[in-house]
């Protein structure tokens, strides 16, 4: 996919020679002429094409009222200075307190697998010696953060999700059940609260009893699986046995399939990097399991920058997009989490200002009850933002600004599809969570441009199909009436 840029506009030329335009602020998509594409070759070329230049200027200067900001910005009553410059961006005003709507609890900082690429300290512990959650502290946190979210103003109905992570959280299913029932008790009587639960697990410990528990509590379950058995067994081996972890995970998936209608969602996470770059193969395998996945997360995670693999990831994701789109259009493509994010934002014309809810809507607690903005910051003393139910206001307030601003992304065309990027990835690659990882930016922009391409392609295909159907029915009606006239003539 070749791209050219004019101020806040992006032009994309697909391998099929289709040319799309994208307005980075309005999230508008257009079909562009070949002349305009040629004019965009360089500044001199633009000067030689005043008509095209004027059209680009006009589109760039438009501000659409159809595009809106994502929820936490939309709810924000702060007065924002609206700078309309070459690079349009809303600058933030004074900060407001976070509105926590997701509490993530680390149930276990220990795991029964030993994945070679484990980002949780290499063994699921995050470097901590406290392997099991302190239930009384977790209950205190559930009670506190639920009450805090209930007090949020202008909140007639709201969702609150409790997410269970590890290590492997299903090492302690009874603790999960106990905490869920406690949360339900705390939420009793709050008709406007929609309490949900989610868990990310390697799936190897999902017995019939555990599956029933997850179903009873309407869990959203995310399974970690890297691909075909020969790959997954290598990348995600069992810690203490030589048994195939893939077989155990597939048994778990089969138990979840049994209770599938009761689950809120069933997702899969696959991690790629130096250890495995066969992403398209993994996608084919995962979609061959007969599971109707709600989300397929094909994420790239590397300890060190690797330009070659970064490009390979982009190429593999291009192949995945092609296959998914061919199989089921945008619906299939948007099952893949990396494409879903930009597609939903384009479809809903909703700008995001922050990549995720870290420190704004999400709080992570480790097994000791220490608090972080994100699970990937656990056990990093610099990133600790509180303990038990006490948040350090100076630390938490630093997260309240737009990540686009904090990470200096105002000039990027993909900023409102990306939201400034993942702070944990930035920190892991640059040692500063607000200093961007260039590899991350490259793959994010590549995926965003693929999403724009397929969205536009699908749109045009549908429009053409509709026009075709209408023309066809018009001509059908015409020929019917022509026949009728002929018959009438014959009768006469």
């Amino acid at each position: 996919m070749e791209v050219r840029r004019f101020k806040d506009l992006l032009a994309i030329k697909s391998p099929d020679q289709e040319i799309w335009g994208f307005h980075a602020y309005n999230l508008d998509i257009a079909s562009l002429s070949e002349e305009l594409w040629s004019a965009l070759a360089d500044e001199n070329s633009l000067r030689r094409h005043p008509e095209q230049l004027q059209e680009l200027e006009d589109w760039n200067n438009e501000i659409s009222s159809e595009a809106q900001d994502a929820w936490h910005e939309a709810q924000d009553t702060r007065q924002r200075a609206h700078h309309k410059t070459d690079i349009q961006h809303k600058a933030c005003g004074p900060l407001k307190a976070p509105k926590i709507k997701k509490l993530s609890l680390n149930i276990a900082q220990i795991c029964n697998l030993k994945c070679g690429y484990c980002a949780a300290g290499g063994d699921g512990t995050y470097g901590s010696d406290t392997s099991k959650i302190d239930t009384s502290i977790a209950q205190e946190q559930i009670r506190y953060f639920l009450a805090l979210s209930a007090k949020a103003p202008k909140n007639p109905s709201y969702e609150f999700d409790i997410r269970f992570l590890g290590g492997e959280p299903l090492l302690y299913p009874s603790v999960i059940r106990e905490l869920c029932l406690y949360a339900a008790l705390c939420a009793a009587g709050q008709d406007n609260l929609h309490l949900t639960f989610s868990v990310t697990t390697n799936g190897t410990l999902i017995t019939p009893k555990v599956a029933d528990m997850l179903a009873d509590l309407r869990f959203a379950v995310t399974i970690s699986l890297d691909g075909q058995p020969e790959v997954n067994d290598r990348t995600r081996p069992a810690k203490t046995t030589k048994a195939s972890s893939t077989i155990m995970t597939l048994k778990g998936i089969s138990e979840l399939q049994r209770v599938r209608p009761q689950l809120r969602a069933l997702n899969v996470n696959s991690v790629f990097g130096d250890h495995n770059m066969k992403i398209h193969d993994a996608y084919l395998y995962i979609t061959s399991l007969g599971v109707k996945w709600d989300e397929i997360n094909l994420l790239y995670s590397n300890n060190e920058q690797n330009e070659f693999n970064n490009r390979l990831y982009i190429e593999e994701m291009r192949r995945v997009a092609e296959t998914a789109f061919r199989r089921g259009g945008l619906a299939e493509l948007s099952t893949i989490k990396q494409f879903q994010a930009p597609l939903v934002r384009i479809a809903a014309r909703t700008r995001i200002h922050s990549y995720c809810g870290a420190g704004k809507s999400l709080i992570q607690a480790d097994t000791r009850g220490d608090l972080y903005a994100c699970n990937w910051f656990m056990n990093d003393p610099d990133e600790k933002i509180g303990a038990r139910t006490r948040l350090k206001s100076d630390k938490i307030m630093r997260y309240q600004n737009s990540f686009i601003e904090l990470n200096d992304c105002q000039a990027c065309w993909a900023r409102h599809l990306c939201g400034g990027g993942c702070l944990a990835v930035h920190k892991s690659q640059t040692s500063d969570k607000h200093k961007k990882d260039p590899d991350f930016c490259e793959r994010t922009r590549a995926i965003a441009s693929m999403a724009i391409h397929y969205y536009a392609k699908s749109f045009v295909a549908e429009s053409n199909a509709e026009s075709y159907t209408e023309n066809k029915s018009e001509s059908h009606t015409k020929s019917k009436s022509e026949n009728k006239n002929k018959n009438d003539e014959q009768r006469n």
């Binding site: 305009l36 879903q340 939903v344 909703t350």
Partner: protein, 40 residues
């Protein structure tokens, strides 16, 4: 604009746009909120 044809220009396109939006939003829920596509 001669060289820039916005894809949502026609009524037919608008219908398509809404259909696609509905399809995508149905997947994600009503609000396209912040997610964590890179690491979960």
């Amino acid at each position: 604009m001669k060289n820039i044809k916005k894809i949502k220009a026609s009524e037919e396109s608008k219908k398509s746009s809404n259909a696609i939006t509905r399809e995508l939003l149905a997947k994600k829920g009503k609000k396209p909120v912040d997610g964590c596509p890179e690491i979960n």
